[in-house]
Symmetry: C2
Subunit: 240 residues, 2 copies
């Protein structure tokens, strides 16, 4: 039987060269969108509607929805809250429906909507993701949200951590240079992950706006088993 | 005084996010276009006209030009020869004008034509490049040709080797995650460069077509001082 492929797409700008209707796509935006989404599901949110533009988010707010929205890390004035995982507390999100728009993460999610299954990945649900992907036994594309179409390190490192774990299973194989690069970078960084993250550009952007309190949290393995999945434009728990 | 920036653009697909009219752009296609071009100048070629399409290359052939042209590693039937550096011998190229078209390299060169200066980079002229870049004292973009808009490892490694050497000079600073990643990957690979290259996709593509005899040669440091530069659509030696 053919082995399933594991590919890493380093930025949404080249996603068209990976695109497959039959693959599972894991969207990664470690700092902070996909870490925030995993946190929201851990804390009992019912569903999340990712929207690409601020205009859409604003329109939903007018209709009475709870809206999380940021650009360049800064919460937008019309929104209920922004992009920090710490905003998605149980008190605030349990059994709620939330509309969500971020700089890079949410439009990257919508970009993959055509595929077999779109999952939301972060360190927080790494182990559950690996288990699910191996069970599904399909080609895998790990799609890094990056920063405004550019490569970023923090998403690439997580892609390496996920790819390496999935490739432990003999039914999968790496078929592209970006997977090899992500795994090599992960193996450098993992020895001192937070120390390594200190040099990435997004860390400096967050620090400038006093938003870097989430760095440690967003790099914590396996605090939830929840896997958000895209179903008819909404994110819901994979088992839900 | 402001430090000059060093950036690595991992694939032509995101070059629009780097573009600067005032920067020096070094185009890198280690296997094999930029190694072949450096070899041609080392062996005395007068000038090279890089053309993006096979149609253009064919039209020049009809006009009587000497034409090197390949796609996916294979020399095209109408061309005089293909993309191996070993084709560009002194007997064949000295004082000649050559028209050249390749899968990834030549259109990447034309893409950067708007910038202050477009240089052709490879291991073969690494030391001369570093010296020239430091003397010019301008922002630097290292543009990897990649493979059909995708990331590749061999160009990224060279970008890391070049960025690291330029950054030894205190007048330059790294301003993007892709530069950091390229340098880290280079530092893994350099311990056993040919061994590392063994795993890259392009090595397997070349091997399949029995074209991998160039791997060692294309990863040899400093066998020429010649730096090809784009001037009015032609590549000529920087000093010429």
């Amino acid at each position: 039987m053919r082995k399933k492929s594991v590919e890493v797409c380093l930025t949404p700008a080249v996603y068209d060269t990976f695109k497959s209707d039959n693959a599972i796509v894991v969207v990664v935006d470690v700092l902070r969108a996909t870490s925030a989404i995993c946190t929201a599901f851990m804390n009992g949110v019912k569903k999340i509607l990712p929207v690409a533009t601020l205009e859409e988010a604003k329109a939903y707010k007018k209709k009475g929805y709870m809206v999380a929205a940021e650009r360049d890390g800064i919460v937008r004035e019309f929104a209920d809250f922004g992009n920090s995982p710490f905003n998605f507390t149980p008190e605030r999100v349990r059994d709620k429906e939330i509309v969500y728009s971020t700089t890079n993460g949410t439009n990257t999610i919508m970009m993959a909507a055509h595929s077999y299954q779109v999952l939301i990945g972060s360190y927080l649900n790494h182990g559950a993701l690996v288990e699910h992907i191996i069970k599904e036994d399909r080609d895998l594309i790990i799609l890094c949200a990056g920063w405004k179409r550019k490569f970023n390190l923090e998403d690439t490192l997580f892609a390496g951590a996920l790819a390496e774990a999935v490739l432990q299973n003999k039914g999968f194989e790496s078929i592209c240079d970006s997977t090899l690069a992500a795994i090599d970078l992960w193996n450098i960084a993992k020895k001192d992950l937070i120390g390594y993250i200190d040099k990435v550009a997004q860390r400096h952007r967050l620090k400038k706006n006093k938003l870097d309190d989430v760095i440690g949290y967003c790099h914590t393995f396996d605090i939830t088993k929840k896997i958000p999945v895209l179903k008819e434009n909404y994110l819901v728990p994979v088992s839900g």
